[in-house]
Amino acid sequence: MSEYIIKNGHVFDPVQGIKGDKKDIFVKDNKIVDKVGSGAKVIDASGKTVMAGALEVHAHVAGPKVNAGRWYRPEDKHFDSHKTAGITRIEGGKSIPTVFKTGYEYARMGFTFAMEAAMPPLYARHVHEEIHDTPIIDEAALPVFGNNWFILEYLKNQEIENTAAYIAWVLNQTKGYGVKVVNPGGTEAWAWGLNCLSIHDPVPYFDITPAEIITGLMAANEYLGLPHSMHLHQNNLGNPGNYTTTLESLKLAEGVKAKNNFGREQVLHSTHLQFHSYKGTNWGDFESGAKEVMDYVNRQKNLTIDTGNVTLDETTTMTADGPFEHHLNSLNHLKWINVDVELETAAGVVPFIYDPDNAVFASQWAVGLELALYAKDPMRCFITTDHPNAGPFTRYPRVYAWLMSEKYRNERLNTFKKADKVISATTLANIDREITLYELAAMTRAGPAKCLGLSKDYGGLKPGMNADIAIYNINPDKFPSTGPEIEKAFAQVAYLFKDGKICVEEGKIVDMGKKHTFWVDAKVKENKQVMHDVREKFLRYYSVNENNYSVPESYAPHQHIISVDATQA
């Protein structure tokens, strides 16, 4: 039994509405409690900021394409492989860190949970092997469904119940967490070298449109009452003028009601919105569409988004949006990996350099910041870099600093080589909002936890919640006056409690904690049709046998199973 008192810290907790008041937090074992015994260890947090552990809502940190990115980019870690003294292993990689570095770096920044954003079901075991080896942080993974043959066939006939039963089966087989959709229909079209750029482009052979896939999967997700909503990477990513596609897709959620027991209110999470908020007709007359998109999102309460902030680094893009990576490769001519996964999905990987001297990349940087700054409800807008697509997650402290300091981001904006062009193509220069620590806590803790259906135990500091706590060397009364100081404070926590154990102290890893793998076990009525279809597809079209498909529970360390009962639905 271990007990702690975190004394005199400035607490920021949107769950309880605490906005920086000095308050003691009590920890007993792995929980936050009302009080502890007199023998409790005291952690002096005076002059420091106390928040819940942060939750990453969307990052590519484990699995086949991440690893392909790792090992086809030796140059990404040739000068960047090192070991710090102590209990840690060798860490390496800038844009695609190794699993060890991934766990340590998230923990050093105060994160206790990360969602792997795209798991091809056929490769689920690989995702879990990496999650298994990633230290400290809790993780979960979202299987991709938007181009799955079962889904396309069921939804063509609007069979929501079958769709739901199949989703439940896949979640169980893959130890998955929810419903991820990447370029619905477009990735299946890519198997023939084609794409679906609008939500009304028909998918070759399957005779269905992206709009129908999105609508159907949203319905199936709510039919099951999963903790997380459908998680959508929209069609037409990264192209000028795509904000109309974005708005059209978001409108599909109008009138859809969230139905679940987890306190989740959204029915659609739209991810890395930065890549989907462009106006103009080409890269010459490219303009930001962030205002238009966020005006809509702000009005629609059943939507959540994450930003996908460009960090202006050399990075490695990777997505299940196969046709997009092909397109990107034809633009930058750097090395290209593509993997089409039978019956399910595809993925591409291309290194990318967001050169700040280029007006387009600098504008993308501005669009990402605009999205967060236009967000009226920080509980529905989360900060991501779509790691590693728009930049590595290790750049979060810098993104926070840009958002929290108008001066810092204007310094960056005004020193771009093509500053004039960026300023005229975006509206960032006119925004004076600075994100507060309280808002940041909503955007990185309480918000993501609620969006993922984890708000009962995570994302806040209320007694009874899990003791995942980050303490930063930031005194809100004397908030750091320069960007680099803010960055430094967020890069290295003073303390990180994970499940009530101190895992990081002044940026140094002191304990590997006990990492958990979260997955959702959804129970549905027995569905003979779906089980017959599964058997049939494995017999005829898959290259593995049905009995060798599932990921056994032994792959999920300290599994945290969230049960959902949809048998009455």
Binding site: P64, N67, W71, T98, E342, P552
Partner: protein, 441 residues
């Protein structure tokens, strides 16, 4: 009553067939029969029950004979060797499970090992090429369901991956390929008229060592440029004809093998083939795949990838960083240059598969070999530690040639008291910890 174990995974080649049926004796000790496997896979299972299998570690004596020792003695000797050596080659890993590899890497990080796998003499060239130019690829099921053009370039699945053609590439009927072989056009490019070529619709005989030039000619032809009359012995008319055929297919795939990775130019033969594939994607859908040999050599690359960021030849000798440079940290080069002080071989047989000059260098160093059976390497090692056969006597994760992970199955018990790779490595790891705590390094 004998019983049948179904959906068994074949631990021989990178095809990783997962539909074997193995009949096992009532006491779980003996394999009585294997169904669905190719000749090689069947032999692997049959080999399990051969009499005379070594069941305990053996140490070479001064007179050249081997004497049985206990596991504890072998573990202690190995740990001491690892701790003492300033730089150790830890080679193999292709025929063991990912779980065992993970333990091995932990040891390597502590003792300063260089972890290299069988890719180093196999598809290492392909991995270099992928590092240089990427790889547009797909899973094998995509080939089965969609491919209407299949090219085997410098590979001979009829011999090396016997069930590949029937499961994935030539004969199967898939979703969009209901006609099976009839709906596909198969090309084989090789310097010999192989058995694979005999199954193909067209055989292109390239002069040995001229693959790079021929691939360059394909790319040049695809751009409509002029070619010399023949390239690598192939007339230009043929080249133009094939390129046109490939451009107009629906889904094409190139499978390539040692014919490209072992010949002059090595990695460049692959990177130009990959670039041809990339070019073809401007016209249609095209993919390329390495015909990986050992059943889990891909897995070793994956585990090294997520732990250190490199697919093979990972140099942890400094213990505070991971480095990778093929030509420097690759096994054959390390041995050629005598750049290591000890050798630890696991789940492989470099004695049979490395050039003899490399093995002469190896034989001069303290050597431990971990392998279920006697082979050419165990007989030049100081210690041979037998272990259970992974994929037969113990399960564990493996990766197919298209990187799809499949859990291998245990079908029979290992001989009494025999350790698995993972158990053995865990014990060595503990012993290394003890020695290091005592200031052994």
């Amino acid at each position: 009553m004998p019983k049948e174990v179904t959906d068994v995974i074949c631990p021989f080649c990178g095809t990783l067939c997962d539909d074997l049926i193995v009949t096992v004796s009532d006491d779980n000790k003996t394999i009585l029969g294997v169904k669905n496997a190719c000749a090689i896979g069947a032999e692997k299972f049959n080999h399990q029950r051969l009499p005379g299998r070594v069941k305990r570690p053996r140490m070479r004596q001064a007179d050249g004979t081997y004497k049985e020792i206990t596991y504890d003695e072998a573990i202690d000797w190995t740990a001491n060797m690892l701790v003492k050596s300033r730089k150790t080659l830890m080679y193999g890993w292709a025929s063991t499970s990912c779980q065992a590899m993970s333990v091995g890497h932990d040891i390597a990080e502590k003792v300063g090992g260089i972890v290299d796998n069988c890719a180093t003499v196999c598809h290492g060239s392909s991995l270099i090429a992928i590092e240089d130019v990427g790889v547009p690829s797909c899973t094998l099921g995509e080939v089965k369901n969609r491919a209407d053009r299949v090219i085997f370039w410098g590979c001979n699945p009829a011999h090396a991956h016997p069930r590949h053609m029937s499961r994935y590439s030539i004969f199967p009927r898939g979703f969009f390929t209901v006609k099976g072989h009839k709906g596909r056009k198969i090309y084989t490019v090789d310097c010999r008229y192989t058995d694979t070529a005999k199954c193909s619709d067209e055989f292109i005989q390239v002069q040995q060592g001229y693959d790079y030039e021929l691939l360059n000619a394909f790319r040049t032809a695809a751009r409509g440029e002029v070619l010399p009359d023949t390239v690598g012995g192939v007339p230009k008319e043929k080249i133009y004809e094939i390129v046109e055929d490939l451009k107009t297919c629906r889904f094409g795939i190139i499978f390539f093998g040692m014919g490209l990775t072992h010949t002059m130019g090595r990695n460049h033969n692959i990177d130009i083939a990959i670039n041809l594939t990339r070019d073809m994607n401007d016209y249609t859908k095209f993919a390329i795949m390495a015909m990986r040999g050992h059943w889990n050599v891909t897995g070793s690359g994956q585990v090294l990838g997520w732990q250190y960021g490199f697919p093979y030849a990972v140099d942890l000798s400094r213990r505070d960083q991971a480095r990778h440079q093929t030509g420097e940290t690759t096994s054959v080069d390390l041995l050629n240059r005598s750049e290591v002080e000890a050798c630890f071989y696991i789940a492989t047989d470099p004695g049979a598969h490395f050039p003899i000059d490399a093995m002469k260098s190896s034989a001069k160093k303290p050597t431990v070999t971990v392998d279920p059976h006697i082979n050419c390497t165990t007989e030049i090692s100081d210690i041979h530690i037998p272990v259970a056969m992974v994929g037969v006597e113990v399960g564990g994760c493996a990766y197919r040639m298209d990187n799809v992970p499949i859990e291998t199955r245990k079908v029979v018990d290992p001989p009494e008291g025999m350790l698995t790779d993972e158990e053995l490595l865990t014990k060595i790891n503990h012993r290394v910890d003890e020695l290091l705590a005592k200031g052994g390094a």
